[in-house]
């Protein structure tokens, strides 16, 4: 079985993607021994993409791209203008991924990441499927996989569980679309982490390892040994990315969006180093 590649979310290190931030995040990730870094999609007009490409090459690590739509770029909608802006955003993320050599674009790609005030409708779901069908085709042409990260009830009204996400991906019917499991979100919605892995089945393609309170890995409620045992039993060989957020790093606007009202840690090096050790230990125990 191929070893899982281990990654770290850029938000552990930095709150933006200036040349200086990109250097710090990429070099710090590589120095600790991560295989790749997850980079939130940026506006190529505002960022020196070539600089990111050079940093990745010189650090010798891979990259993936993530994004979350917002209320103004939502494709889980019946509003054509809003949906068109969302499709443009998704398309730009795929293009950014291609330019930096990333083989994966995932996140809240099917809906806005907001507290909705109404349930999803059949029409809004259909619209999301139609848009993602086109985005998946564009991604596939560049050998990029598209990830559908289901989130908790407060961040989307469309996909809150692995089972719902499997149905959604089947309806989408594109071979390069995978299910993205985030343990923080699964904690609020699933019967258990192993049950979520079983529901995801062969569509599981990407994992965010994130604690129940999004702080340091291993300091919360989640049963990681059970998760890793299930992953070993099912032979999951895909990427696993550490995700954690602290108001010590994130810009206030991002922290406000995700409801981050307290500082869970202040030293990103400590958070990322401990997480890598934790993930390696979990994988080793589960494989033994």
């Amino acid at each position: 079985m191929a070893a899982n590649k281990l990654g770290v979310h850029a938000g552990v290190w930095v709150g933006d993607w200036t040349d200086e931030s990109a250097r710090f995040a990429i070099e710090s990730s590589a120095a600790l021994g991560y295989d790749f870094i997850e980079i939130p999609a940026v506006d190529p007009r505002e960022v020196d993409v070539a600089h990111t490409v050079r940093l990745l090459a010189s650090a010798g690590i891979g990259s993936v791209v993530s994004l979350a739509l917002d209320a103004d770029t939502d494709i889980n909608t019946e509003d054509a203008a809003v949906s068109a802006r969302g499709e443009a955003q998704l398309t730009a993320a795929v293009d950014f991924a291609r330019e930096i050599g990333a083989d994966y674009v995932g996140g809240v790609t099917y809906s806005a990441m907001v507290k909705y005030t109404h349930p999803a409708t059949a029409a809004s779901r259909d619209n999301s499927l139609a848009v993602l069908g086109r985005v998946a085709e564009r991604a596939g042409a560049s050998g990029i996989r598209l990830g559908i990260e289901y989130v908790n009830r407060y961040e989307s009204n469309l996909l809150n569980t692995a089972a719902q996400t499997v149905d959604f991906i089947r309806d989408l019917g594109a071979a390069n679309v995978v299910l993205h499991l985030d343990t923080f979100h699964a904690n609020s919605e699933e019967l258990s982490l192993p049950a979520a892995v079983r529901d995801a089945g062969p569509l599981l393609g990407y994992i965010h390892a994130s604690e129940s309170h999004r702080g340091l890995l291993g300091t919360g409620i989640l049963d990681f040994p059970a998760l890793f045992a299930e992953l070993a039993a099912t032979g999951y060989s895909g990427p696993i990315t550490f995700e954690s957020f602290s108001s010590a790093v994130l810009p206030r606007a991002t922290a406000d969006t995700i409801g981050l009202w307290r500082e869970s840690w202040t030293d990103p090096h400590l958070a990322a180093r401990e997480a890598l050790g934790f993930l390696r230990a979990q994988l080793a125990v589960a494989a033994s």
Binding site: P119, S188, R262
Partner: protein, 291 residues
């Protein structure tokens, strides 16, 4: 018979509190064997208070009330008019609680029940303290207790952990302001289900029991053995109320506020009966200490 009074949230049975719904809720609460029912006051204009009180007394049931505030009537705001509307809502809700014959009024009494887009401000927190001091004094005169329900980050920015709640209660400084733990929210914010209980200790006044997904007790992954053991270890004798939500029972306002998008059950009475048996067993088990 447990040492704790066991309750059930009315939204297990019905989405509103019209006279027909209240009668149905009280009848089913009694049938399922509970000691008390918790009414959310989000629908209070529909509630016929004297009639509900008469029905509760006839059924021999206790009552607890709960609510969250709204962004237009929010005591954690910096805006004095918004704070005043929130305070008025709290005083009115306290009067309804008294009218129902209840002595315990709890919930997100300190903020809107919703996703904030900025952190709590210093001025906003001072407003919470001032309003709740006054409300607590009024409640004390009536022999009533206020609960500070600790909610997750998506439902308030005021108190997300037991430590936050104790600091707020300390600043309010009134003996009849107690802490309200909810296992569903704890699962998102706390490090485990034991330390918060030990930290709160004898200042714990009310407990909500709910699964991590808010569905059937035992179908999720919350470590209820640890939680009930911790409650036994602090000799908690107060009420414990089961809370669960499904898209099968819709409140026009609260369901969307709470993001209840999924159907986790259809039969509220069966769910309530099962939850009571689950709690009775858990409390009984936790009381058996072998040394």
């Amino acid at each position: 018979m447990t040492v704790n009074k066991l309750g059930v949230h009315a939204l297990v049975f019905a989405g509103g509190t019209s006279p027909t719904e209240v009668d149905y809720i009280i009848g089913e609460t009694k049938k399922a064997g509970y000691d008390l029912v918790e009414f959310s006051l989000h629908d209070s204009p529909q509630l016929d208070v004297p009639a509900a009180r008469a029905s509760l007394e006839a059924a021999g049931l206790g009552v607890v009330t709960s609510r969250g505030l709204s962004f237009t009537a929010d005591v954690s705001s910096d805006d004095s008019a918004t704070v005043a509307r929130g305070a008025a809502l709290l005083h009115e809700s306290l009067a309804i609680t008294e009218g129902l014959g209840g002595t315990h009024f709890t919930g997100a009494l300190y903020s809107a029940l919703g996703k904030y887009m900025q952190p709590l401000s210093t001025a906003g927190r001072a407003n919470v303290v001032a309003v709740l001091q006054e409300l607590a004094k009024e409640a004390a005169g009536k022999g009533m207790t206020l609960g500070l329900e600790i909610c997750n980050r998506y439902e308030t920015n005021v108190i997300n952990t037991a430590a936050d709640a104790l600091r707020l209660a300390d600043d309010i400084g009134e003996d009849n302001v107690l802490i309200h733990l909810d296992s569903y929210h704890m699962n998102i914010e706390e490090d485990d289900f034991v330390r918060p209980v030990l930290l709160v200790g004898d200042r714990l006044g009310y407990v909500h029991i709910g699964e991590n997904h808010r569905g059937y007790m035992g179908s999720g992954h919350i470590d209820f053995a640890s939680f009930f053991h911790a409650l036994a270890d602090i000799s908690y004798t107060g009420p414990i109320t089961f809370e669960s939500f499904s898209s099968a029972v819709v409140s026009p306002t609260l369901s969307n506020d709470l993001s209840i998008w999924r159907n986790l059950w259809n039969d509220g009475p069966a769910l309530a009966k099962h939850a009571r048996e689950y709690m009775v067993n858990a409390i009984d088990g936790a009381s058996r200490v072998y040394r």
